[in-house]
Symmetry: C2
Subunit: 546 residues, 2 copies
Amino acid sequence: MKIAVCQINTTVGDFDGNVGKISNNLKKAREAGCDLALFPELTLTGYPPRDLLDRFSFYEKAQRALDQVAKEAKGIVAVMGTILENKESGNPLYNAAVAVQDGKILYTYKKVLLPNYDVFDEARYFAPAPHPEPPFSHKGLKIAVTICEDIWNVEGVFTHRLYAKDPVEELAKAKPDLILNLSASPFHHAKLSVRQTLLKDVTRKAHAPILYCNLVGGNDELIFDGCSMSMDGSGNLFQLGKSFEEDFFVYDTENPSLKPAQSLESETAKIYQALVVGTKDYVHKCSFEKVLIGLSGGIDSALVACLAAEALGSENVMGVTMPSPFSSKGSVDDSKSLARALGIEFKEIPITPLYETGLKTLYPAFKNLPKDTAEENIQARLRGLLLMALSNKFNRLVLSTGNKSELAVGYCTLYGDMCGGLAVISDVPKTLVYQLARYANRKEEMIPEATFTKPPSAELRPNQTDQDSLPPYETLDAILRLYIEENQPPSKIEKAGFDAKLVQEILKKINQNEYKRRQMAPGLKVTTKAFGMGRRVPIAQKFNEE
Amino acid sequence: MKIAVCQINTTVGDFDGNVGKISNNLKKAREAGCDLALFPELTLTGYPPRDLLDRFSFYEKAQRALDQVAKEAKGIVAVMGTILENKESGNPLYNAAVAVQDGKILYTYKKVLLPNYDVFDEARYFAPAPHPEPPFSHKGLKIAVTICEDIWNVEGVFTHRLYAKDPVEELAKAKPDLILNLSASPFHHAKLSVRQTLLKDVTRKAHAPILYCNLVGGNDELIFDGCSMSMDGSGNLFQLGKSFEEDFFVYDTENPSLKPAQSLESETAKIYQALVVGTKDYVHKCSFEKVLIGLSGGIDSALVACLAAEALGSENVMGVTMPSPFSSKGSVDDSKSLARALGIEFKEIPITPLYETGLKTLYPAFKNLPKDTAEENIQARLRGLLLMALSNKFNRLVLSTGNKSELAVGYCTLYGDMCGGLAVISDVPKTLVYQLARYANRKEEMIPEATFTKPPSAELRPNQTDQDSLPPYETLDAILRLYIEENQPPSKIEKAGFDAKLVQEILKKINQNEYKRRQMAPGLKVTTKAFGMGRRVPIAQKFNEE
């Protein structure tokens, strides 16, 4: 039997668009002689639909979309993800997979394991099935279905077992000939190898090949990388779908042909591509075409400009430099060179007159008090105000350019440089920003060399550099990774070789600046723990971590 | 046996402070001849600790706090809430109640039902106990313990059963002499009567009196109203704790004396008091003393100033009026009168010079394009910038003044009037703002009459009023309530008597402005569905509700 793995980019709530993509893929699958076509998790609704799931009309539209696909699946079985009603006690919906053909529903499967950690809230919406539905038969094959997390509890892969049940173990008892998995598994660095280890374990346990269809594309903070797979019953990888783009491949159960796996060359390349897709999909799925970026002459905004130009086309990107009395000539020149190299529109709008008027306006209140962060923030906020004015006037989405290191310690201005609809690199530590910026220059020099070599500076007072108030970024990023991503207590961070006082200072800054991050734009997640929906920390609290 | 119900205001992560409050109450309870003292849910950690629960040192501190309370509970049983470790599969913690005395743990109970809807994320952190722990015996009484949600699944009270299990039913089989409940049940309007209905049903089912100890005080978005209760086995309310302040009362099982229930006179008064406490606790638990409010002359900022003065003392509140070329003289005068009546500090800082410099600065980009919301937003953002400058310079928290109606339809400026650390009335619809403002004037006129009678206006262009772009607030608020709070589909909203086209327009505006609300400050929740952590809607999506 030939099975098509249809790795598509769905949009949350876009039932017509999602059904359209399914129809196109069914056509392609029929033309390729397939008997079955497999789609990602929650194909009809998009992932994650979040609280739209509370709307009854959302459910009704999903039902209508299911009927429509059933009718269009002529002579082929479509296995797609959707929501179904739970009439018993518990949450009112199931996260389900439905197999349809010729207007009929052949089989339904309800997700057993509902992830409810980090960015996942599935226990908020769905009732878990008590057991996995037994396999269904088609063309003489016993086909088992699973949905994403259902295959993530294989013993031996993770140290702490989140779930008592293992649906794979239960399904293995039915001796399936084939396992299907519909996934919406978001990207973070090095995740592909975790998934491969997992799938191998599933095939070993069930002695059956697995077809893994993962979602691709960006939805708010989440970027799905695709990388769908087919693996034989001994855990050999046969096919690997494209990273970060739609793909379609056919697995022949009788004659599985080894297609060499094509993966992006490096982790840096993957993260870069993730950010390109995340930016593109956020902007387009929000119905925008054009964006606006404040260019400071620094590495962060330069990287965001490169990503945006690649994501949206340079004709849709505008860079704006907004020099203050403290901006170096180099910064303006570097921004100009960057804009020229990228071929993006460029504007220079000085903030000095506004800044001076602001100081005069505030003089009756500030009198001769010494200058401090208040005056620095005024500059950042005037830039935010100008970007937003251009955004409003010309209907361009502002991309904010803050990196993870500065958002962590609050080295950023709320309503200033934090302005924007999408925080493109909010999950990228500063040291990785440099690596990604090098990658952006891989073909030709987009970002001028000076932007790499000069000491990073906010240029909000004379001769300021980031290292006046922060440790070197190598040190800061290492501490941040241990604390935020690896969730280590301070004692362990110190044991990793960092000064106890410095660690305390950094941790204090992280916690004191939660209020800024609460108001940040959605940011693209590329690490195991990003600021945003996957990290929920109270603001009014008094926990001093020791 | 005499039992003290200790309704205290805990702070998240403030282990020392929380233990201190427990100690004081144990002393009081001993002095009153009590054998047992009951505290609210998660007493030691504060509620809700959210992702602080992921930190191992948070767990360690909770363990140490438990040991400390155990030692201090000399000759009295303290029943308090804390976190305990789950060593089996599943989430690593339990939400537990522990009874301690004389340095020993007498009994532990683990929460069975974990709320994971609206503002609750308990399935993110905790493992549910499979069954309620049987009652423990003390001084000849069989005492059953329950935690908050455990008593919220009584059959017949709610139409849809969220849980298959009913811990009360199971506990009733053991024929307890008394039921204790440790709660952290947040306030929303009319909630007290829901709780009373529920408790009555529990006592009827278990044929035993119940002592209900609820948390009091604000923690980020949530306001706990206290209103702890004692009820006899026939569902008669014996005692009712104070609303919105700490309280302590003693229930004598042998001689339960009916203390007349003291509840605030009206729902308006309750909501007003909720906002006062929410503001006070947010500001203080964030370690601030002083606040700053932009006064527009309108009803929203006037109400917030009254609430702040009551919450923090008028000496800690500063009002700033920032007139533009489009501000009426009345607006400035009304703000002045308000500040004078409240006895708060007052500043007038005109934005006209900044606005004019801004227009000049943007002229090369804007040229002679017609004026639109871009110019209106510049004014709002300049005001935000000035408030934030004062906030930075004088270490005052900015309170933002947007109401629920305008946040719903996006009639507010991101980074402008949305600036602030706390959105005091973001869950208060405009029509209720007027009622609360009248209540603020209950003793003497704080808010000038003109503020009530003039048509509401953002004053961002000549002769603008809110009703240029919005329906009358009575209509708007009614539609918003049906859509947001009651989760009605548009067809039902229309059937309630609203124009179909208007309903579509409003719903479209609500959904289009999700991006603004994603970046709003935490807002105090007073209705059944507030914007913020309890309403999680994707931004990049294409769901058209019909």
